[in-house]
């Protein structure tokens, strides 16, 4: 393999990696913003039908990416509700764009953000919440000053898991992405392309990077949980 080709491959690899990291970071940030109110409501609501919403939140865990990808593709198309709206607003469809990928990934990684948040919100001692209320703090202040600081490990877990899960996403991206360099060709798609072209060496170079990043990210989650969560749970 000549030098220029090697460089081109490296450039392509960096581009895909950068895109995946960017996508994962955006999705993690959005999920944190949407996930917190949803998790708050699910953790403290006394509505009897709560289980229905919980089931909806957990759906992406059990649905295959093909189902999500299929619905996303149809919804984003000019005949779908979302596609119609998007085309009216921006003049182009959502599929094959970075925005479309973000949307699909937010759906796909939703439970990975919301479930750790619910768990940590629920673990907060109710007496502290009552005390906060008695002392005159409103719900919003109680959330910021009592619940959130006590749920920090859950917040870290939620953001790290949604980041990692988006980084490793494949099926949905394959179905709505269109494999555009720098726009929708993520690391996992690039690896697939290399395997399809029987370039196992290039696939391996990329796969190792993903393996190392994923391991590092998961180590962070477990480290945080070990050090901070255990003493609380024991209390």
């Amino acid at each position: 393999m000549g030098k220029p080709r090697e460089n081109a491959e490296k450039g392509r690899r960096m581009e895909a990696l950068w895109l995946s990291l960017k996508l994962a970071a955006c999705v993690a940030a959005i999920l944190l913003a949407i996930g917190m109110p949803v998790a708050y409501w699910l953790a403290y609501s006394s509505w009897r039908g709560r289980f229905l919403l919980e089931s909806i939140v957990a759906l992406p865990l059990v649905l295959p990416p093909t189902v999500l990808g299929f619905y996303a593709l149809v919804a984003m198309g000019p005949r779908g509700p979302l596609g119609k709206l998007w085309i009216a607003l921006f003049g182009h469809g959502l599929a094959f764009t970075f925005g479309g990928l973000i949307l699909a990934s937010v759906l796909y990684s939703f439970p990975f953000a919301v479930q750790p948040l619910i768990a940590s919100f629920e673990a907060v001692d109710r007496r502290l919440l009552d005390a906060s209320e008695v002392l005159g703090a409103g719900a919003f202040r109680t959330f910021w000053q009592v619940i959130l600081p006590l749920s920090l490990p859950g917040v870290v877990t939620a953001s790290v898991l949604s980041f990692a899960h988006t980084l490793g996403e494949f099926g949905v991206v394959l179905m709505v992405g269109g494999n555009l360099a720098g726009v929708t060709r993520t690391v996992s798609i690039d690896i697939y392309d290399h395997v399809q072209s029987l370039e196992y060496g290039a696939a391996n170079r990329m796969a190792v990077v993903l393996l190392v990043i994923s391991f590092a990210v998961l180590s962070v989650v477990y480290a945080v949980n070990r050090r901070v969560w255990t003493p609380w749970a024991a209390k």
Binding site: L73, V74, M76, G77, P78, R79, G83, H92, G93, A95, F96, L174, M175, V176, G178, N179, L180, Y192, D193, V195, Q196, S197, L198
Partner: protein, 271 residues
């Protein structure tokens, strides 16, 4: 406790019985014969007709798996249990034969693939009268093709675009399907406004209603499609019989009806 035991005893013959039933059923099926075919995605409709007809004639069950030829190629190298491999690119079967993984002498070029520009029935652009110009239309924002890096149809599409002299112009509009079937799905779902797809897909029930314009065969390297019977085929006789069936006049007619061209040299094959 004792009661629990007796009631359990009543049921203990059931698992072996179920197992036995499965074995009997499995044997019964195996006796009728069964072949497993790995087929390129562009064959989806042709293969369905061919296997239905073959099943009727021979009572051999045909199991077809559709996918990308490159994927099958690596799976077969790693021991995938297929009897026959219908590739969209004859290069893969040729390499399998060279590697000793195919039945010697069974390599056969069964068809030549054709490509068309396809636009949806409700689209703003009708490609029928316009040909290449349709792709340059401002309302065509995305054009779906198969990934030229590993899909033969993608390579043909790029070659034809280059030959037409508009590749650089339309390149920013291109989106890439993992295989030709996905490229078709991108445009059929309306997410892309035009696509360069296999004729065999354009004539399929789901896409028949759209508009198409045939790209002249000389504008791209011929999409020679080849098949081999695999060395490790479990049911070699039935596999060879299926191959004969594809070679004969009915098989060839089915391929033509489903959007393929039959190589000139095959036309003299036995009836």
């Amino acid at each position: 406790m004792a009661r629990g035991k007796t009631s359990w005893r009543k049921w203990r013959r059931v698992p072996p019985l179920i197992l036995f039933a499965f074995l009997v059923l499995h044997e019964a099926r195996a006796q009728g014969g069964e072949i497993r075919i790995a087929a390129a995605a562009d064959l989806k409709f042709a293969m369905a007709e061919l296997s239905e007809e073959f099943e009727k004639q021979t009572r051999t069950k045909v199991n077809v798996t559709y996918g990308s030829s490159g994927n099958f190629f690596s799976q077969i190298q790693n021991g995938a249990p297929f009897d026959l491999f219908f590739s969209a690119d004859i290069e893969y079967p040729r390499q399998l034969e060279a590697a000793g993984l195919a039945e010697p002498g069974a390599l056969y070029e069964y068809a030549i693939g054709r490509i068309v520009i396809w636009t949806p029935p409700d689209g703003k652009v009708d490609v029928t009268g316009q040909g290449w110009k349709a792709l340059l239309d401002a309302s065509v924002k995305k054009i779906a093709i198969a990934n030229p890096e590993h899909a033969p149809y993608g390579r043909a599409a790029v070659a034809a675009l280059q030959k037409a002299g508009i590749y650089e112009q339309v390149k920013p509009k291109l989106v890439y399907g993992e295989n030709i079937s996905q490229a078709a799905q991108f445009v059929q779902s309306g997410n892309a406004q035009a696509g360069i797809v296999a004729l065999s897909l354009a004539v399929s029930p789901a896409m028949r209603g759209g508009h198409r314009w045939g790209i002249p065969a000389e504008m791209h390297p011929a999409l020679e499609q080849g098949t081999v019977v695999l060395k490790d085929a479990k049911n070699k006789d039935a596999a060879l019989a299926f191959l004969d069936f594809v070679k004969n006049a009915t098989g060839r007619a089915t391929l033509v009806k489903c959007g393929f061209e039959v190589p000139e040299k095959n036309k003299g094959e036995k009836k």
